[in-house]
């Protein structure tokens, strides 16, 4: 690989100055033109608040939102990876029927606006299916300790059913992209590796499980981690169905306090902390994997 030396050209300088000037102008307009009164002091209490009963600091609205976002993204990515692996295998299957299933899934999901998907799945899943399955009754019948665990891992009992619907929707959405990552990963395995496995008499299932998938996992770990970051961003969309993740909490808070700019700047910062720290870790991971490869 050739690494080009980064040089700052005159154009960069001009563009940089231009951006700074625009930013300064906007801030000036907000501060002076709109007569906006900044009130940053009001924000921290919405991150954490002091709980008299428990005698300690507990997460408030915004941090609760952060945790819900993390729960959604983490479980969503895990579910999506399982789904993506199955569908990815379908995509490279010998059977035309399986390939068709994989293809339909990917094309359907990728060619619909995510917002539409959310509504479709929400009304199907959360409405008829969830109640038919008796999810709510099931959760309410659980012992208090189990409910506590469920609340920690997923969502409180009252929100469990919509949370599950949102989670599944997110997983189905991200799963389509992971399907393509898995497919590309499988197809990137050299022909010789397949042939050597066939020549040893491994069945297709055996060679997939013991040879191809382990190799694929090694190769797709970085893009998969990237998809996890995407999931964090995409999870904002379930705010539309009242899942109390970060974006939803932001909207609530803004409606209640009218601290529009403070709230959204805080939300932006929180998302960036999540995604950028993960991006950096993914970069590390990539370097690490490449080193063990040589």
């Amino acid at each position: 690989m050739i690494i080009k030396k980064k040089k700052i050209t005159r154009l960069d300088v001009i563009l940089g100055l231009l951006i700074l000037a625009i930013a300064a102008y906007i801030l000036y307009r907000i501060a002076v033109g709109l007569q906006y009164k900044w009130d940053w002091a009001a924000i921290p209490q919405y991150l954490f608040r002091y709980d008299e009963e428990r005698n300690g600091w507990v997460p408030n609205l915004l941090m609760q939102g952060v945790f819900t976002t993390i729960r959604l993204s983490l479980w969503g990515t895990i579910l999506a990876t399982i789904l993506g692996t199955i569908m990815g295998l379908c995509r490279v299957s010998h059977s035309l029927f399986n390939r068709l299933i994989g293809w339909t899934y990917v094309e359907l999901i990728r060619n619909l606006p995510p917002l539409v998907l959310i509504f479709i799945f929400y009304y199907f899943l959360s409405g008829p299916i969830m109640s038919a399955l008796g999810v709510d009754e099931f959760v309410k019948a659980l012992s208090e300790r189990t409910q506590g665990l469920l609340t920690f891992l997923f969502a409180p009992p009252s929100m469990f059913s919509p949370f599950l619907a949102a989670l599944i929707t997110l997983a189905i959405f991200e799963g389509a992209y992971i399907t393509e990552i898995v497919r590309a990963g499988i197809q990137s395995i050299e022909k010789g590796i397949w042939e050597a496995s066939h020549a040893l008499g491994l069945s297709r299932w055996q060679l997939m499980r013991a040879v191809i998938l382990p190799l694929v996992v090694q190769r797709i770990l970085p893009p998969l981690a990237g998809q996890f970051i995407s999931t964090i961003k995409d999870s904002a969309i379930v705010s539309i169905i009242s899942i109390q993740e970060l974006t939803f909490q932001g909207m609530e808070l803004m409606a209640a306090t009218y601290l529009t700019f403070e709230v959204w700047i805080t939300i932006t910062a929180l998302y960036l902390i999540l995604t950028l720290s993960l991006s950096l870790s993914v970069g590390r991971l990539e370097i690490y994997l490449r080193r063990s490869e040589s």
């Binding site: 590796i193 042939e195 050597a196 496995s197 040893l200 008499g201 491994l202 055996q206 040879v211 190799l215």
Partner: protein, 250 residues
């Protein structure tokens, strides 16, 4: 060398034809029989169909017509038959094709465990024995890309032998190696032949062919031009084309 006693036929290939989707006919009515303990050497110019023939023998390529029977099992459309044949036929490739995510030991053990259903311990013991046989027991816990080409190819031979095959196919096993490593691989192959392994060897190593081969086929454009003992082909070829080819590569 004392005259080797050959057994009955183990491989029968009868009038096999193979045309690739791009209209290239790689094999035309190709027939041959291989006897137990026989070492058959196949030579021929590039693109003459040598690899295709080997790949047809273990079902890596499907033949269009003709028949292949290996140790009584016909290679047909039945999946079980194909898997059965692959168990009994080991193959060594030009580019080794080791599994990069597995250690040398696991590379050799994998198929024993999955296909032969051996226990981990039993498989490891067999693998170590084979690694000693190919001269690299000390590399058992190394990953393939930390090995030289010659070492990798010896692991690949051990991996194929681990299935206890009745036949071994070698497709230009030394062509991708640096000259100083060719010898160590040929040595392993020579020992194998002496132990009585039935082998089909595609190679450009004429010294090896002459020393180890019981029979030699010279093929061109998917057809056998001439076959006979290596000595006869080298010293007294019946076809002009054979002599020309051999004089070019010697």
């Amino acid at each position: 060398m004392p005259e080797k006693m050959l057994g009955n036929d183990i491989i029968t290939a009868d009038k096999i034809n193979k045309t690739f989707p791009n209209e290239v006919q790689a094999l035309c009515d190709f027939s041959t029989r291989v006897r137990r303990r026989e070492v058959l050497v196949i030579i021929g110019p590039s693109g003459s169909g040598k690899s295709t023939f080997l790949r047809c023998l273990n079902g890596l390529e499907e033949i269009d017509s003709g028949s292949i029977v290996i140790d009584g099992v016909p290679l047909d459309h039945k999946k079980e038959n194909r898997l059965e044949i692959r168990k009994e036929v080991g193959m060594v490739f030009q580019l080794f094709n080791l599994f990069p995510h597995l250690t040398v030991l696991d590379n050799v053990s994998l198929a024993q465990r999955l296909v032969r259903k051996k226990s981990k311990k039993e498989a490891s013991e067999t693998s170590m024995e084979l690694l000693r046989k190919v001269g690299i027991p000390e590399k058992a816990n190394t990953f393939p890309n930390h090995l030289s080409g010659g070492q990798q190819q010896r692991v690949a031979i051990a991996r194929a032998l681990a299935m206890m095959p009745k036949v071994m196919l070698f497709d230009e096993a030394t062509s991708a190696l640096d000259p100083e490593m060719i010898g160590e691989v040929l040595e392993v192959m020579k020992n194998l032949a002496q132990e009585g392994m039935t082998m089909i060897v595609v190679t450009h190593e004429m010294g090896f062919a002459r020393e180890v081969g019981d029979r030699m086929i010279f093929m061109e454009e998917g057809e056998i031009v001439e076959e006979g003992s290596p000595d006869q082909l080298f010293t007294n070829p019946k076809k002009e084309r054979t002599g020309l080819f051999l004089s070019q590569i010697l």
